[in-house]
């Protein structure tokens, strides 16, 4: 008896489709690489606060933090292999966060310079 033709997009209730959970494995070297990057970033952050940079240390701190979080998000949070919807969600959150910072700061730091 001939096999019935497979209809696309039929729910796979019977789990006939093969499942390969191992196809998206993170390479151990990549996991260690991110760990060492964020760890080195931590030491740089602490070192910058002891380097006599004064008020300028904040720029080093934030730059290092952004680099650290970028590595964590791209590799460990798997943005690297995420679909467009995930990138859109992440990008939307990031954009709204920028708006959230830009609008109040433009008010508080111009009308109330030096505090309330």
């Amino acid at each position: 008896m001939a096999e019935p033709e497979k209809i696309p997009y039929v729910p796979d209730y019977g789990k006939k489709e093969p499942d390969f959970p191992t196809k998206d494995l993170d390479p151990p070297g990549q996991i260690y690489m991110v760990f060492f990057v964020v760890l080195i970033g931590l030491f740089v952050t602490i070192g910058a606060s002891m380097a006599g940079l004064g008020d300028r240390a904040i720029y080093v701190h934030m730059l290092v933090s952004v680099i650290q979080v970028s590595f964590v998000a791209y590799y460990w949070m798997h943005l690297k292999k995420s679909d467009q919807m995930t990138w859109l969600t992440f990008g939307s959150a990031f954009f709204v966060m920028l708006v959230l910072f830009a609008l109040p700061l433009s008010d508080f730091l111009t009308r109330h310079r030096g505090g309330l």
């Binding site: 039929v10 729910p11 796979d12 209730y13 019977g14 789990k15 489709e17 499942d19 959970p21 191992t22 494995l25 993170d26 151990p28 996991i31 991110v34 760990f35 964020v38 760890l39 970033g41 931590l42 952050t45 602490i46 606060s49 002891m50 006599g52 004064g54 008020d55 240390a57 904040i58 701190h61 934030m62 290092v64 933090s65 650290q68 979080v69 964590v72 998000a73 460990w76 949070m77 798997h78 995420s82 679909d83 919807m85 995930t86 969600t89 992440f90 939307s92 959150a93 709204v96 966060m97 959230l100 910072f101 109040p104 700061l105 508080f108 730091l109 109330h112 030096g114 505090g115 309330l116």
Partner: protein, 238 residues
């Protein structure tokens, strides 16, 4: 009628579509978390730009050694939970259990050190609502901090504002971490019962997304609160 077969739920066409939906759901939740914390960071930014001298003065009194060790704990836990996903995918249950337990223990160690730090802060008069606020002599000064601040032109009220940020930001972060520890322990129990099988690894992956976000938030909290003022190597205890 329920059509759940294995890891696949009935309203998905295949397992990869289901996994994508689960990841997207967690990312949408994380988007709300990012905006929640962004509001707190925004308020902190405004006050720090207004009162940099006062914030720097009290930040220098916080324990950088504990913050540094806690940072290492969190970063290591983020690595162990990433390896746990790999162990789950490959069906290595023994490694999975060890890595999940290590993740939870590192998180618990972070909270234990945090509790110790809070207790130390209380005894050092760094709690705004305590009776001994500013009455202790700290870190090489020869008189109580209220006198030091008065001499240096630092406002105790602005010091209190910084400390409110310190307790609220680290407190909210700590609550998130406790929730994360609970979820990781739940996954550990599932691993022990061997119900966290390779085809269900995405449950661990979505938990790791949350865990990494809590880690990422700490990477901003740590320099903003603990390193807002100048520090010396002596403060690290070396």
């Amino acid at each position: 009628m329920s059509a759940r077969v294995g890891a696949l739920c009935g309203h998905f066409e295949d397992i990869e579509q289901q996994r994508g939906a689960e990841r997207l759901g967690m990312w949408m939740f994380l988007a709300t978390e990012i905006l929640f914390f962004a509001g707190v960071f925004l308020a902190y930014t405004v006050y720090r730009l207004w009162y940099p001298k006062d914030f720097a003065a009290v930040s220098s009194l916080l324990n950088v050694t504990i913050a540094g060790i806690n940072s290492v704990f969190l970063l290591t836990s983020s690595m162990t939970i990433t390896f746990a996903i790999r162990a789950c995918q490959t069906g290595n249950n023994a490694a999975l259990r060890k890595l999940l337990l290590a993740t939870a223990l590192l998180g618990a160690a972070f909270m234990a050190l945090k509790a110790y730090e809070y207790a130390t802060d209380y005894h050092e008069g760094l709690v705004p609502w305590s009776n001994n606020f500013g009455h202790e002599t700290l870190h090489g000064h020869d008189k109580p901090m209220l006198d030091v601040w008065e001499h240096d032109g630092v406002s105790p009220d602005r010091v209190k504002i910084f400390l409110f940020f310190y307790y609220s930001m680290t407190g909210i972060h700590g609550i998130h971490l406790i929730i994360g520890i609970g979820v990781v322990l739940y996954l550990y129990v599932r691993a022990v019962r061997k119900t966290l099988t390779p085809d269900k690894y995405v449950a661990l992956e979505t938990t790791s997304l949350y865990w990494h976000l809590v880690d990422a938030i700490w990477l901003f909290i740590m320099p903003l609160l603990y390193l807002a003022g100048p520090h010396t190597v002596h403060q690290l205890g070396f």
